[in-house]
Symmetry: C2
Subunit: 328 residues, 2 copies
Amino acid sequence: MATASLDVVGIGNAIVDVIAHADDGFLAASSMVKGGMALIDEARAEAIYAGMGPGLEMSGGSAGNTIAGIASLGGRAAYIGKVRDDVLGKVFRHDITSAGVEFPTPAATDGPATARCMILVTPDAQRTMNTFLGACVNLGPDDIDAALIARAQVTYLEGYLYDPPLAQEAFRRAAGIAHEAGRKVGLSLSDSFCVQRHRAAFLELVDHHVDILFANEAEITALFETTDFDEATRRLAGLCDLAAVTRGAAGSVIVADSEIIAVPAAPVSRIVDTTGAGDLYAAGFLYGLTQGKPLAECGRLASLAAAEIISHYGARPETPLSDYVRAA
Amino acid sequence: MATASLDVVGIGNAIVDVIAHADDGFLAASSMVKGGMALIDEARAEAIYAGMGPGLEMSGGSAGNTIAGIASLGGRAAYIGKVRDDVLGKVFRHDITSAGVEFPTPAATDGPATARCMILVTPDAQRTMNTFLGACVNLGPDDIDAALIARAQVTYLEGYLYDPPLAQEAFRRAAGIAHEAGRKVGLSLSDSFCVQRHRAAFLELVDHHVDILFANEAEITALFETTDFDEATRRLAGLCDLAAVTRGAAGSVIVADSEIIAVPAAPVSRIVDTTGAGDLYAAGFLYGLTQGKPLAECGRLASLAAAEIISHYGARPETPLSDYVRAA
């Protein structure tokens, strides 16, 4: 097996976030499920945008955030995802490449616009997401750069990829290439509603194709259709080699072959916006893992990266994470 | 004179900001003057964007920030400025109208794209701005909505309007309409380099057409070509009815007919990005003035609005300013 020249390659929906404040009344009046991610069409996207307050635009996308986080920690990272050749597509490309990430996927020259996610942040710092998938629906197996995948220690996939029609195939192709090259495959379950939409497929995938699983409490209990966290953790241990389950302020639990490690959350003076907490947790964890750190240290790095991201608006680091970790 | 149905109408360059971190080395290598605003063409804009780090996009523009701040304080506000009918133009329009501001100026259907300002924030929280004026160069006297101007207690103009070729005429037309309607005219000097570019015109304007002047120390000393702040203040008193001069952490000085009032800066736990400090100072001041508050209270509101804006990235309020002022 060749030495990996990349730590992690991420594959995901390439999305620009539009972040705005909202109160619970706005969510209710707009029939939004607080804390969730809803897929919306362009007409609904226009309607929500017209009704919501002033926004701030930032590159996002779950795996995109994770990969940007890994680069910000000093890791060698690449990204595969589909934008359109429009203004927001240029913004997405600029932001991820200027963070030091390889991003070879060409932009679509026709079809829907670059994806947008309207993120409404309520005063309790919770985020409610509304995603217009746009150009992401055209990410397919042809976009999977086999040489890139083979170069990375870990191929990291976001569960949201199960929503656009062609991406599942891209997903399986990437996992196959990674394993043939002797590499690892990581997956994030993304969202409990996403798990409910694709439960059987996720179970089969985790069982046969995933080495490292990331989830939060709601996602893992949805996956195993149980309300008992400990039961979900036990079943997880039987299903994949390594998993990390986040529990918000209660920290996280790392489930490995022979051990279960409880990791405390890192302190934050004020939680401003929880968008990207899970994405950056995965960033810290995968960075630690690909640097050969012990699991407890991977968990510590994960908690720190998550702490930085929830202390401000947006899901990309405001402070270089390498500095943030050094200061902690 | 009819009762004013608006407190303030602002006229300015309608700009979307692209905010990124940079270190002093990047500014030096890019031949940028720290703390200043440079006008750049599209090619230079592309080159700077290619070299700079990941950004966050937010509506900006000096008078746009002021007007959004006045609306956020609860004032009745309107804005005149030129965007193109493109994605960033829609973002600008969405953000200012959803803040509660009337924005009747139609978008240009041809010509240059919506203006962008690349704002590089150094670790000392200073901002260095690079503006591609784009569609703003086509703002002209025909865009001045006479009925709108006549409805507002104050017409507020940004000095930056002296840069695009047609806007000076728009500027003078607006001031003329405001005074004919018995209203006041406010002006911000914007930037010391802008003052140097248009010094004679500004002196004539302030002397004959401006009732309320906003400036910082560098701008006012550039206007009077002196290094002595007290001398500049004295000359200011002879030139216009009311002026407010900001001095950063040292607070500000209000210069009125018969009195000079020193106003302390409002405390901030951490200064993150000074972009918009002057714009929001003007917002608080004009809001207080149009609510009939005493000058010392106008200064206090001004300092509070400026304090909110420098505590985070971007030049539009993150917290509704009415809440922020109530909490203070």
